[in-house]
Subunit: 482 residues, 2 copies
């Protein structure tokens, strides 16, 4: 089967659209030690080249250039020598090259950048740089972007930047971040795919990603690997996240719902079912699902309740799709879902206080638990509204750190009909990045802690991250502007 899945994935390799981007400067003379900053005026992913030429006398030694590609302005001044993070420093987008001869020099690597900083580290004499060209690549075709009439300026900006984020991450697959990781994660895939249906509507790339995960590895519990690499090699990642495994199922159901491509759904049904069943089987002694979930990049977060919510949420979506396609298995899962919701209510919910603070999650009070319990259908209507809004408003609750988790909070708000509050929530989170002048939405955004990083150093954070692109989905799907 693996070969078959990979063949299907290959057949759906999207074409990369190339666009020539010319920075704000056309030509400049440079001397040893000079620094030049170019502005692409927007965030792009692709390949950079320039022409190096001599000015008066022939450039008779290699020219050594340090070049830094920055997603945001702040990175221009960062000192990479004091990098303290625990992700590999090689993700910092800086290279030193020795250019032997005058002529056009094309940097061999792909970069993600709005700004380009060029420092002359060694040059025998004055030389010129010109013909700056950034060849942007993306499988998102701007000509195919669905038009959206959005009157509100802030929402319009948020939509534009979300689309731009998605565009930069849409490559041969949905990448999580084009600066760092550059791979396919299930969590990002799902959110990118949702945004994609309402913008570029490139169903090919979603299909490709679904087949790639079908071809990937499972752990001994049947959990689908959380990420994979596909270029130049197809390799499964080495991290298994139980919530991501379930979100694969959601991604497949979404795909069918938005494309009506029944053939693909049926093709991948077994893969999805085994992911669901692996969660069903993997329970703790109390009867709650047991596994290593991601949920959010949030230090100290207890994830049990949230993961239980992901499980119920997935069952719900799974059942709806099975019913639509008249799978006889629907009944079994339907019955299961009701039982699991009862168990959840019984074990995780404090009815008197209307909160999901529970012994199992070490009495931790978090927005994560509340949102996922709402999405899992454990609570509904007015009590659910109170639970979620209180958790969001609380001064002591643990709050989401990533736009990824914020997405599910918004989804929960909308599920409860709290559309205006969802809109404000979007303005609060994504609007904050807009005010900072973002061209793309960040992997991590904590308004009052701009240096927060789950990796030990803000400099390694990805400033264009797939999982942050979903405001365009909410704005367009729910007409949030109206």
């Amino acid at each position: 089967m693996r070969e078959y899945y990979l063949k299907k994935a290959d057949e759906n390799l999207p074409e990369l659209v190339k666009t020539n981007i010319y920075p704000d400067i056309e030509q400049v003379n440079m001397n040893n030690g000079d620094v030049l900053t170019l502005d692409l005026r927007n965030h792009y992913v692709g390949y950079f080249s320039f022409k190096m030429w001599y000015v008066e006398r022939y450039i008779d030694a290699p020219v050594r250039i340090r070049i830094r590609f920055c997603e945001t302005k702040r990175e221009l001044e960062d000192d990479y020598n004091d990098y303290k993070g625990f992700l590999c420093a090689s993700w910092l987008q800086e290279d030193v090259v020795n250019i032997d001869f005058p002529g056009v020099y094309k940097f061999p690597r792909r970069y993600a950048a709005r700004y380009i900083k060029i420092t002359v580290e060694a040059a025998p004499k004055q030389f010129s740089l010109s013909d700056f060209l950034f060849e942007s690549v993306s499988s998102a075709d701007m000509d195919k972007l669905k038009p959206a009439k959005i009157n509100d300026d802030e929402l319009k900006s948020i939509d534009r930047i979300a689309v731009n984020t998605l565009r930069s991450c849409m490559q041969r697959v949905f990448e999580d971040g084009p600066k760092r990781d550059r791979r396919l994660w299930i969590g990002d895939l799902r959110l990118e795919a949702l945004a994609n249906y309402f913008t570029f509507n490139n169903s090919e790339i979603v299909k490709r990603c679904l087949y790639l995960f079908a071809a990937s590895e499972r752990n001994d519990k049947g959990v689908i690997v959380s990420h994979l690499y596909e270029n130049p090699l197809f390799v499964s990642g080495d991290w298994y996240l139980s919530d991501y495994s379930l979100l694969y199922v959601c991604s497949l159901c979404d795909y069918y719902n938005y494309t009506n491509d029944e053939e693909t759904f049926r093709d991948l049904f077994d893969v999805a079912r085994s992911a669901v069943d692996s969660a069903v089987k993997c329970k703790d002694p109390l009867g709650l699902v047991d596994g290593d979930a991601f949920i959010d990049w949030c230090p100290g977060l207890y994830k049990k309740t949230a993961y239980q919510g992901v499980y119920l949420y997935t069952l719900d979506i799974w059942i709806q799709t099975l019913e639509k396609l008249q799978y006889k298995e629907a009944e079994y899962y339907k019955k299961l879902l009701e039982e699991e919701r009862d168990t959840s209510r019984e074990l995780l919910f404090n009815k008197d206080k209307l909160v999901f603070i529970n012994e199992i999650d070490n009495y931790q009070y978090s927005v994560h638990s509340a949102a996922w319990m709402v999405l899992g259908g454990v609570v509904s209507d007015d009590p659910a509204k109170t639970i979620l809004l209180n958790a969001i408003a609380s001064e002591i609750s643990v709050k989401p750190k990533t736009p990824y988790m914020h997405h599910y909070v918004i989804e929960a708000l909308i599920k409860l009909g709290l559309v205006e509050i969802a809109k404000d929530y979007i303005r609060n989170v994504w609007g904050g990045m807009v005010k900072e002048g973002a061209d793309t939405f960040y992997e991590i955004y904590v308004h009052d802690d701009p240096d927060f990083s789950p990796y030990g150093d803000r400099k390694i954070n990805s400033m264009c991250h797939a999982w942050s692109c979903t405001p365009t989905y909410f704005i367009r799907k729910y007409g949030l502007d109206n």
Copy 2:
């Protein structure tokens, strides 16, 4: 004419012979911070590649490698951060690359090296390096190397290393040094061509170089530019050396003498004549040739006398060739040479002391003056022997610093029939490098001052330099072994 000369140069572009060189190590696992040194077992010029692969887990971030190419072992430990020279630091053969994916990585630049030092600057986890390959390039074809029967072990080594030096420098043109400069200088061209006639005998490359200089620029005095670039652009250098301009004439005459290619000589006759005539015309008030000569990289050297010698030496060779080819102009130059020799004797020679210590050269006593006056035919026979040998033996005379100048000292010794002394001289200079374990002969070799550099820092010295390759010429031409 320039287009015609360039066309002829292009027609004689030599083919580069490629040879795969495999270092002493086949495969090694590397971790962050690890250092690996490869040994090519000989000095080569060319392109390096290896295969980077993951060991247990996929290499999920770029691997940052610092790579240094060393012509000699000593360079492996040099600290390039404290480089103080005044030539551009970009000549130091070190690059830092970020390798994004597992696979074969080919470094894009050409290097000159025996040793390769690889330092892992950033890697997310263990990886392997294997399939090390150095693709050596040279227009010297080892299969065409003339055999030479040399019994003496030291001379045999010297010959082998001289041939190796020539081979590394023989590229699209005779380069001066494949590590640094990598361009065509007249001074190097002449010596490389002489060595070439007795070894690879590739007359194509000599012809190409002669035509390239014919196409190059002259200064307002008619001096041929001392060096040029030909790849990717044909560009004349910006330094005019009056002795080099004359050595172009010698190179053309040598070429005819060794190849009998009369057509090329006649084609370039006007170029050579105008170089000779520009020297003839450019005299100081006393009647000695006036110009900026190179002679040697020797701090404080007074060059007047030596340059006068180069002039006379060139006239001599020029006349001999014109006579062979029955040019009527021979008579004029013959008469001129006699007059110039008389002037030289009168102004520069101290008959009583048998030395070329003269007011004009600030009373400086140098081997350079003595050797070039001998080669210029100002003195001969026993007095000449005394003059030259005394200068060499003197404790106070200025001595040559470069094998380039040593070449002309040996030529002077041989001219005077002092073949055994010439042989010892070769053993002293080049034998010293052999004892140091040289694979190629250095640009600069001062036995008692291993850190001497004309460029302010030994680290920038070229350790494989064309002008140091001529022992093979002397050994083979004069049968020094016998």
